[in-house]
Symmetry: C2
Subunit: 584 residues, 2 copies
């Protein structure tokens, strides 16, 4: 069985020694988020997650979900774990106290989500989709709608869904066909089929709130004719009690590569009663407001799985003895250089990805809550720029680390009993949903680089340049290669922005490699800051030594990839798009 111990020391190092999370407590709204509270929440969450969610990870995978007569059964133990997760307040950690939440920083809720996803990423989908639905309604619903749904969604007492995808409408939402017809009483009748609906049906809670993208019968075709609706599983009476069952049904569930404990439904709406959220034809805008948060959430799912892979591989490699080392020693396989390389690679990516993900979360808090508009703007730029990086890099990393962990385990990694191959199976979906990682790259290149005349990337480059210039000379081992990577990234960024106007296929052809090069440069910046913080770290000599050795490893062995990636980017389309489809 895979083990998981929340990496609290590294979490706190990233939050405090590298990123100054305590600045959030200076904001009035987060006055309660003192260092003690933050540490206490992390400790308590770790205990719950290790004790209650981890043990269900492999059993839930083996058992999976079932559907019969439109009724879904989740694996044993999940309903009880979800109930206790709700009762312990983990769903509403960062939600507005007005809606039953605890009003703590979003950042802290993401740290808890990283741990939840490490222990049981399939479980995380129940609360995280609920939070997505909550956020959407909080942003766009009427006061009456909020009063009806948010107190239950804000705590997790009811769960929520996002009903977006249809068979012909995956990445292309313009093709959505689900129909909404207005009734005399102002409500709508919703008809159509939605697929890939996470938590679409189950019996764990009294009600489920579907947030549905549909097209009013008098709306135009295309992306500008879509609207969003609330469609509750059970109608809610005016006194808050539950009324009739709404005709929205789970017709089938998907059999998947992984996240088997999370139910993925084909949902059929048969003139189900729905309520328009916000204005008609503003559905896509209503979706976009929460898309960044949803993508960051998926990034944290990846981060958790990447950590799970890393710590199990390290533990196993320290225990498993096989043959002599290259220098004739009797040490475990962690003393074999190729195994050590894999462990260091996993550590180097994961720890720096943690800083990246946390920094984005802190900027979400600043962008939403800081009193100074210029700080909010700067923070928002950071969030916009780094969201695709967090989503794509952390999720690719989860699969990569899962695959590396299997290599460390050898043949034992391929059999189910160790719970390691499950990491690859559970993580692969993260690279697909909320926009495939290719779509993240297109968002970075087509949209984020173009915004405000390139301001977002420029602000990032300026920050990194300052850090390089300020670095102490004993950190030359990383600041020098980071300087080269940054210079190359800046040049290719300019090339991409230029080419995008002349031949967008040139930009599209290299978008994924550019995204990875950008993320690696950011990871280099994070390792520079981690190494700097480690120099001053006195609590634990081993931890300090590991940070400095891993920074050195990253700088010399992983960061150079930036240059070959950017060389490939600048090759552009190079005739690739001219090849006829029949010749492929």
């Amino acid at each position: 069985m895979a083990e998981y111990k929340a990496p609290e020391r590294d979490i706190k190092f990233a939050l405090r020694n590298v990123l100054n999370v305590d600045q959030l407590a200076e904001l009035d709204v987060f006055a309660d988020a003192t260092p003690d509270i933050i540490d206490g929440v992390i400790d308590e969450a770790a205990k719950f997650i290790e004790a209650r969610l981890l043990p269900l990870r492999e059993s839930g995978d083996a058992q999976g979900c079932k559907v019969a007569d439109n009724v879904v059964t989740v694996p044993d133990g999940y309903a009880e774990a979800y109930r206790d997760f709700v009762e312990s307040g983990w769903v509403g950690l960062c939600n507005d106290p007005q809606w039953g939440g605890q009003g703590l920083p979003y950042t802290l809720s993401k740290v808890v989500e990283e741990m939840t996803c490490a222990a049981n990423v399939a479980f995380d989908l129940y609360p995280s989709l609920t939070n997505g639905c909550f956020e959407a309604l909080q942003a766009h619903a009427s006061d009456e709608q909020k009063a009806t749904y948010l107190p239950k969604l804000g705590t997790g007492e009811w769960t929520g869904t996002m009903c977006i995808t249809e068979p012909q409408a995956g990445s292309d939402l313009a093709a959505v066909r689900t129909k909404a017809v207005k009734q005399a009483d102002g409500s709508y009748r919703i008809s159509g089929m939605k697929i890939f609906i996470t938590s679409g049906e189950h019996e764990m809670t009294d009600n489920i709130v579907h947030y549905v993208l549909a097209r009013c019968d008098d709306s135009p075709e295309g992306i500008k004719g879509l609207s969003t609706f609330i469609v509750p599983k059970y109608l809610v009476n005016s006194d808050g009690s539950l009324g009739e069952r709404n005709p929205v049904k789970c017709q089938a569930i998907e059999h998947k590569m992984g996240i088997n404990a999370s139910v993925t439904c084909v949902m059929v709406f048969e003139e189900a009663i729905g309520y328009l959220v916000g204005d008609q034809n503003r559905g896509i805008m209503n979706m976009f407001t929460m898309m960044n948060l949803a993508r960051i959430m998926v990034g944290y799912q990846g981060l958790g799985q990447a950590e799970l892979a890393t710590q199990n591989a390290i533990r196993y490699a320290k225990e498993r003895i096989q043959g002599k080392t290259l220098t004739g020693g009797d040490g475990p396989i962690a003393d074999h250089p190729d195994v050590r390389r894999m462990l260091m690679t996993m550590k180097a990516y994961t720890e720096a990805a943690r800083v990246m993900a946390y920094e984005t979360a802190i900027h979400v808090d600043l962008a939403h809550q800081h009193p100074d508009a210029s700080v909010r703007e700067d923070a928002n730029d950071w969030v916009e720029l780094t969201t695709p990086l967090v989503k794509a890099f952390c999720t690719d990393l989860a699969v990569e680390n899962g695959s590396s962990a299997i290599q460390v385990y050898g043949g034992h990694g391929f059999i189910k009993e160790h719970g390691i191959e499950q990491i690859v199976r559970d993580s692969k979906i993260l690279c697909l949903y909320e926009g495939t990682n290719g779509i993240q790259a297109m968002d970075l290149v087509r949209r984020k680089l173009q915004l405000h005349g390139g301001r977002l990337a420029q602000r990032f480059f300026d920050r990194v340049r300052v850090a390089i210039n300020d670095a102490e000379s004993e950190l030359d081992f990383i600041s020098a290669p980071l300087d080269r990577a940054l210079t190359a990234l800046e040049a290719t960024t300019q090339w991409l922005r230029d080419r995008f106007n002349d031949n967008p296929n040139d930009a599209g052809a290299g978008a994924v490699q550019y995204q990875r090069a950008f993320a690696l440069t950011m990871l280099g910046y994070n390792w520079l800051r981690m190494a700097d913080a480690a120099l001053a770290y006195t609590d634990d000599a081993d931890f300090k030594a590991a940070k400095l050795a891993t920074a050195r490893f990253f700088a010399t062995r992983l960061l150079p990839e930036v240059h070959s990636l950017l060389e490939a980017v600048e090759a552009g389309d190079n005739g690739m798009m001219d090849l006829a489809l029949d010749a492929l």
Copy 2:
């Protein structure tokens, strides 16, 4: 469901336009292997494989194998398919006619194996382990043993196994504990437990021949105390009829990430009767003789799965419509540059890997059968050098392509119904068995680079240099970057050989990256030759255009990785091994 159409045009292009497979027919022993025969065998094999093996791929995965009371049941249809595979002569295609084979070139049997593995890699393990057992006995068994077992193994009428691994002895065979005690009649009693035994037990054939690595009770500890034994499931009477059931039993089967239609057994030997093969204490040498062939076989499994992923991704991307292209077109997703990039990447790696794998196979034939000793030596050098490359690169590629194919399919790739996620699950084991891909890299760096004063690599470098110098100027687009890659590879090769003596950890730390850089350079060499052959190709304009466009794509977008890989290699251990285990 995944589809598979044998890529006969590309197979024949690689064999004939690039590699001159017809030189084999000039050898007396292969006089029958005329172009017509070769093409005819490929056509017939493709028909059988597409019609009989592909349809069992997904059903076999879903159903898996079962064990009850030591009796193993394989999925529906497998016994019949195996019987017909045997009756059609596919098992013995390249085996000596003396033992029921057809005596065709090994190369041709590998081409058939690529197709078999594309359609159903789990099925392939039944004949391929049988061939491994056959080859081992052919090389080391006594005439009497050969007469008893080879006629049945050579046709596949009986299947064979390799019983090597034990719980404490995976990569480290010195730790093998299975015991052999000599009896008065010259036979042995074998006792112990073996794990991960592919095809260890089933009812598809009348008998199973286990080839077992064990330690005689009077042999020393360690690697030099091991011997090999034949342990038949049913004892064979002197008239060839089957006698008593030998006490070698399947105690349990493994539940795995993939290849579920292939049974993986825990085998228990309870004083089973065994027969020593070759001399006592020569077991490891007996294993090594067939290790190259086994590793090449696994490489072909990877090649087949890589092809399966590629052709399904291309087909789906040509059919699936989602949104507008970047230039405003209505084409399918294959016209989106990031999807096109994925398709071209899969094609570029897979087609060049095919040439690599075929070239190694042709050199196996030459090394075994050519009358001129210097040709045999040269061919054997090629086989030794390229075996780890074929094994590691093709199997990593299978997982990579499987993962890319899922990305092309989007969320649909994650659900089982399309048969695409199965590629990743079936392929991951290929990176582990017959020596993990890290062990392949150590074999390359520690052994193959050191042999004969570095002659193996030097001969390769010389061949590539000649091809670069001879290339027509219209191929500068690939010969120039290949020249740079080769120069860098030569320099790092020298660095590695030097460092290996001073600090073996320096060499070990970068072995995997070096192996990939070496393989990419070889793929560049293959693309140079494919582009050259394409210039003269007149049969099909689309095929020619695709070859040239893919060569250009490889040269500009994939080959540059060589430089960042080699930069990482030359970073060496860099303090990584000094980090205390407790600090990891």
